[in-house]
């Protein structure tokens, strides 16, 4: 296709620049979401009564459409990257919190008892025993959150040039150059699949005791979105 990489100058970025922008806008929210959900999930595990209300609040927040969320935030944060990243962070919570809670809860009582018997305090037991065993569930959640985050960033184009590769889609429409949209769709899909693959590799590195491949998948909890949304 002709002009596949001729990025219109109004985007003020090269193709690689857009990719970098996209990765930053998609991944910072996932990171922030993880940092918020780890302690939040731990609270939900410790105080069981807290879990249902937390699930309800995150589910209701998740039901707010991204475009609507962006638009309402413009009033407070302006047409900036932050306006796109705040809703994406909120969305990751509804996937990550149940994933971590289920993962930590799935640690067998015998294992916890063994750790206690070996003299592990609550903090050390959490960090060295419960969290590593919960890694497959957490990574499964991160995979869903990451891929949907990469896709949702592009909607930011609708609130004024904050969608990274989504802006390319917007320009494809404005200038009637379908090849730009093809470029954007392929790039975003490739980014998502790449990020997903990286997370699988991370899981294998973090859980060397688990068999890889088909049997490892069975060991995963059902997709976190089951419980979550």
């Amino acid at each position: 296709m002709d002009g596949f990489f001729d990025i219109p100058s109004d985007l003020q970025h090269s193709w690689l620049g857009l990719v970098g922008l996209h990765v930053r806008e998609a991944m910072l929210p996932v990171l922030a979401g993880l940092l918020i959900s780890l302690p939040l999930a731990q609270l939900c595990v410790r105080f069981r009564w807290l879990y249902p209300p937390v699930l309800w609040v995150t589910t209701v927040l998740y039901a707010i459409p991204s475009l609507a969320f962006f638009v309402v935030l413009i009033d407070y944060t302006g047409q900036t990257e932050l306006t796109v990243m705040i809703p994406l962070t909120v969305y990751t919570l509804v996937i990550l919190v149940p994933a971590i809670v289920d993962g930590v809860r799935s640690v067998p009582q015998e294992t916890i008892a063994a750790a206690t018997a070996m003299g592990f305090g609550p903090v050390r037991r959490y960090v060295q025993v419960q969290l590593p065993i919960a890694v497959p569930a957490i990574i499964a959640g991160l995979r869903v959150a990451t891929v949907s985050s990469i896709s949702l960033v592009s909607v930011g184009a609708l609130i004024g040039n904050q969608g990274a590769l989504g802006n390319l889609v917007n320009d494809a429409n404005i200038y009637n150059r379908p090849e730009l949209a093809v470029n954007a769709v392929i790039t975003m899909a490739a980014l998502a699949i790449l990020a997903d693959g990286l997370l699988v590799v991370v899981r294998m590195l973090l859980t060397p005791w688990m068999p890889s491949g088909a049997r490892a998948r069975r060991a995963e909890r059902p997709e976190p979105e089951v419980a979550a949304r």
């Binding site: 459409p65 909607v155 089951v226």
Partner: protein, 222 residues
């Protein structure tokens, strides 16, 4: 609260309640898009998920399809479809279905797999054949999770159908997109509030469906 003032102004303006660009029309369009996309996605995802889940085969293939489906950006796909096929509802349906099939497919599969094997064996021991086991034992037990997948898909469709307005179709996104172009913030926030309300209504509908269709015993054990 600024936003609340905008919402109040939008809903109290009687001009927003009538005519072609009125709230009833736009809401009707949005509901129509949502139901159509959900019906198509369910028609694809449910049977495939039920059968693969019943036989326990193809889980890895499904996971791959789900990742591929999620990886395709809905907004990009929508514009691409419109640029290549021209104006039409099918351009909106394809990206929405691509968006909605993965959650339905994966949750249905996982729901069927998570059914306790003991009652399934008991049913077989009583002489039930495959189809009976699927519809009379596995499906009722898996139903809450399956409905969860459908709910997740429905909410994503409701949220995402707003971008149909970007390619000059109707629906509640019309207010958001038009409002942004016209710098009419009241309209933008009003549209956003309507979509959020519709998403919440979807949650409520699925809560009701779950209460009505899932058997008491299954509900209690969850």
């Amino acid at each position: 609260m600024n936003v609340l003032n905008f919402i109040n102004a939008f809903f109290s303006d009687s001009a927003h309640w009538q005519g072609y660009d009125g709230i009833p029309t736009r809401l009707g369009e949005h509901v129509q898009y949502t139901l159509e996309a959900l019906a198509i996605a369910a028609a694809i995802g449910l049977p495939v998920g039920l059968v693969t889940g019943h036989y326990g085969r193809g889980g890895n293939a499904l996971a791959l399809i789900a990742v591929a489906g999620r990886a395709l950006p809905t907004f990009g796909l929508l514009v691409l479809m419109t640029l290549s096929l021209g104006f039409g509802l099918i351009n909106v349906m394809i990206p929405l279905v691509v968006l909605a099939v993965p959650p339905i497919l994966v949750t249905t599969y996982e729901a069927m797999r998570s059914v306790d094997p003991a009652p399934v064996d008991a049913a077989r021991g009583m002489g039930m054949h495959d189809v009976e086991v699927l519809f009379r034992v596995e499906l009722p037990v898996a139903l809450p999770l399956i409905l969860g997948g459908l709910r997740s898909a429905a909410i994503q469709i409701v949220s995402t159908a707003t971008i149909a307005a970007y390619v000059s179709l109707g629906g509640l996104g019309r207010y958001i997109v038009d409002g942004l172009y016209q710098r009419n913030y009241e309209k933008v926030v009003g549209g956003a509030a309507l979509v959020a309300l519709m998403a919440l209504a979807t949650l409520a509908v699925f809560w009701g469906i779950t209460r009505l269709t899932v058997s008491r015993g299954v509900l209690r054990s969850n």
